[in-house]
């Protein structure tokens, strides 16, 4: 390990500013119920162009971490989750706030978020490299099967229908084939359009589907339900009730347990922070000596959900860093950002850019510290920001989307693509087609094609020969089993599955 090379990344203040800015932006987005993490990440990517690869990744990681923690603010004060992962925090966070313990609830959420984040960050540092080393031992056949498994899982869990999820993933892959084929050098489906030679650009696609269309949906909801009452912010001082040391100590086992469970759930593709939070909430309620307190303001309820939410968010980066396979949309966007900066996540990243990987690990730990500082000293500001009018935020976000897309491509073509994918994203949302498998399919498409071709060659054009690859066979079997499970019928909602308050 070359410490001089690693620390040379931190000679300039750029990575520090990027971490701080990312966490601040993430907190803001997390606290705002109308904005989501993918929206913020999609908007932020084009602006990372001017940054070094480390600063760019640090900024995006900061956004992911900050939004996971910031989601609790709206959940506690408005009873509306700022982020889907904080949905379960409303169960006990809001009742606590109604009892006049808003400050305590916010403190529990903050410390639990930081602890969950730290647990997952340490696990990532410890696990990613050995996992990447193991991944080097497996070949394209296994990697191809792993992608099939991940996509099946993501597609099955992302929406209400496995078939629609798989169609979305395949559509993403089909779009990824547009452009010059890396293997042969021939143009595919460009129809002599020079601007398509490099393929469909990721940034307009991501911003269009994840940001612009989401903002359109927000506007649509507001027009549809214009008479619906706005959520009211609870009045009162947030410094009246503070978390005591004795109370914090009691939450220790909950935080540790939820951190580990959240981490494991986060690593599994497609499950995500929302599922992790609900699972941990359910477990804590079962383990509690006073389960009747849950739903009425139990401290452990807030601690469990927030720890799990943050641990799962970071846990999803483990397969990304180690195998180059994103298990969540946040990880997929990060994969896109890595690619834009000339880096390929996966086992080879540890071989080709070991210093950068270690510098990234340091940035991850620093961002956990930033999360604590920003959360602790910026809480009052974020409580005020929760009240920001969406009427101002939406045009600001839309303008930022156009600027980001234009800055990246410096042509009207990028804006055209933005509008096309915004329309696709809007229609997908209206038809209940999940966009997560679409984005992951688009990003993994080129990798999948390469591994699929290599698999065909290695199996001598006879896929039956996969039986000679037991790991690949295991992944394919797992995919098959998950297909059967997902096809068995209607999937119950997470609350129904875990018998939780709706």
């Amino acid at each position: 390990m070359d410490f001089v090379a690693i620390f040379s990344y931190f000679q300039s203040p750029e990575p520090f500013f990027a971490i701080l800015l990312g966490v601040l932006l993430g907190y803001f987005v997390g606290a705002m119920p109308g904005l989501s993490r993918p929206t913020a990440l999609a908007i932020a990517i084009p602006f990372t162009y001017a940054l070094s690869p480390l600063a760019a990744v640090a900024l995006l990681l900061g956004v992911a971490k900050g939004s996971a923690a910031g989601g609790a603010i709206a959940a506690i004060l408005l009873n509306v989750p700022g982020e889907p992962g904080s949905a379960a925090t409303t169960f006990d966070g809001y009742p606590m706030a109604k009892k006049g313990e808003a400050g305590k609830a916010l403190e529990i959420a903050l410390y639990a978020s930081v602890a969950g984040d730290l647990i997952a960050t340490i696990a990532l540092i410890l696990v990613a490299q050995p996992m990447a080393k193991m991944a080097l031992q497996i070949g394209p056949v296994e990697l191809c099967a792993l992608i099939v498994f991940s996509l099946t899982f993501v597609a099955g869990l992302a929406g209400d229908s496995l078939i629609k999820g798989v169609i979305a993933a395949l559509a993403g892959m089909a779009l990824a084939t547009v452009g010059i084929d890396a293997g042969s050098g021939f143009s595919r489906m460009t129809f002599s359009n020079i601007e398509l030679a490099d393929g469909i650009p990721l940034i307009p696609l991501g911003v269009g589907i994840m940001a612009w269309s989401e903002l359109m949906i927000q506007m649509r909801k507001k027009i549809m339900y214009r008479d619906a009452p706005e959520p009211k912010l609870l009045k009162g001082s947030y410094s009246d009730s503070r978390l005591s040391w004795a109370e914090a100590r009691l939450l220790g086992p909950t935080i540790l347990r939820s951190g580990i469970i959240g981490l494991i759930v986060g690593i599994i593709p497609g499950l995500g922070a929302l599922m992790a939070a609900f699972i941990c909430y359910s477990i804590e309620r079962q383990k509690s000596k006073t389960p009747e307190e849950f739903g009425k303001g139990a401290h452990a309820g807030v601690a469990a959900t927030e720890t799990a939410d943050n641990a799962a968010t970071i846990g999803a980066f483990i397969p990304l860093l180690a195998l180059g396979i994103p298990g969540s949309v946040t990880a997929a966007i990060l994969l896109g950002a890595f690619t834009l900066h000339g880096l390929v996540p996966g086992p080879l990243l540890f071989q080709r850019n070991p210093d950068l990987v270690y510098a990234m690990f340091i940035a991850l730990i620093l961002s956990s510290g930033a999360l604590l500082l920003v959360g602790k000293y910026g809480m009052r500001l974020f409580v005020l920001l929760v009240r920001s009018p969406m009427g101002m935020i939406i045009p600001a976000a839309l303008t930022t989307c156009v600027i980001g897309v234009y800055v990246e491509g410096i042509s009207a073509f990028s804006v055209t693509m933005l509008m096309i994918f915004a329309a696709i994203g809007y229609l997908m949302n209206r038809a209940w087609v999940p966009f997560v498998p679409f984005i992951i399919g688009f990003i993994l498409g080129p990798m999948m094609e390469l591994y699929f071709r290599q698999t065909l060659i290695l199996t001598q054009y006879n896929l039956i020969n996969i039986v000679n690859h037991p790991i690949a066979l295991a992944f394919l079997m797992a995919s098959f089993i998950s297909i059967i499970v997902f096809l068995r019928g209607r999937k119950p909602t997470t609350s129904e599955k875990l018998d939780l308050p709706n």
């Binding site: 084939t177 021939f186 595919r188 489906m189 969406m390 939406i394 045009p395 156009v402 410096i410």
Partner: protein
Amino acid sequence: MRQTDVWFGILGFCGAIIILIVAIPMGIPDRVISGISIRMFPKTIVTLIAILSLMLVVQRLIWPACSENNFTKQELPLDALMLLTLPVSYLIVKFLGIPAFALVATPIAMWVYGDRSWLRIGITAVSFAVLARVVVVHLLQRPPLGIF
């Protein structure tokens, strides 16, 4: 969802067939590299989309979906209006520029969200437009798109 899914399946199937029959032969040269045609992967993917779309139609006709929410006729004008904002936004951005887009989008969004103070709306819209111009031209040093 049943009706929406059926339409989605039919559209997916038709789209996949058109791509398979028209777009792939036209858009991808018929070359074979190391024993594999470069049309193979897109063809496989699009064929799978066609099969799954058909399966979705059959599934929704036989089994009920988990929710019966559909695109309703009452909502279609609103959806059409929302989609219409896209070409309009594109034309504004392309021919007038990003600041002009901010100038138009801000009052609309603020009005939709219930703000009725034209002074506040005006000040916000102009501020966003000026900020957009400053960010693109001066901060990021990119040529302006459109007139502004």
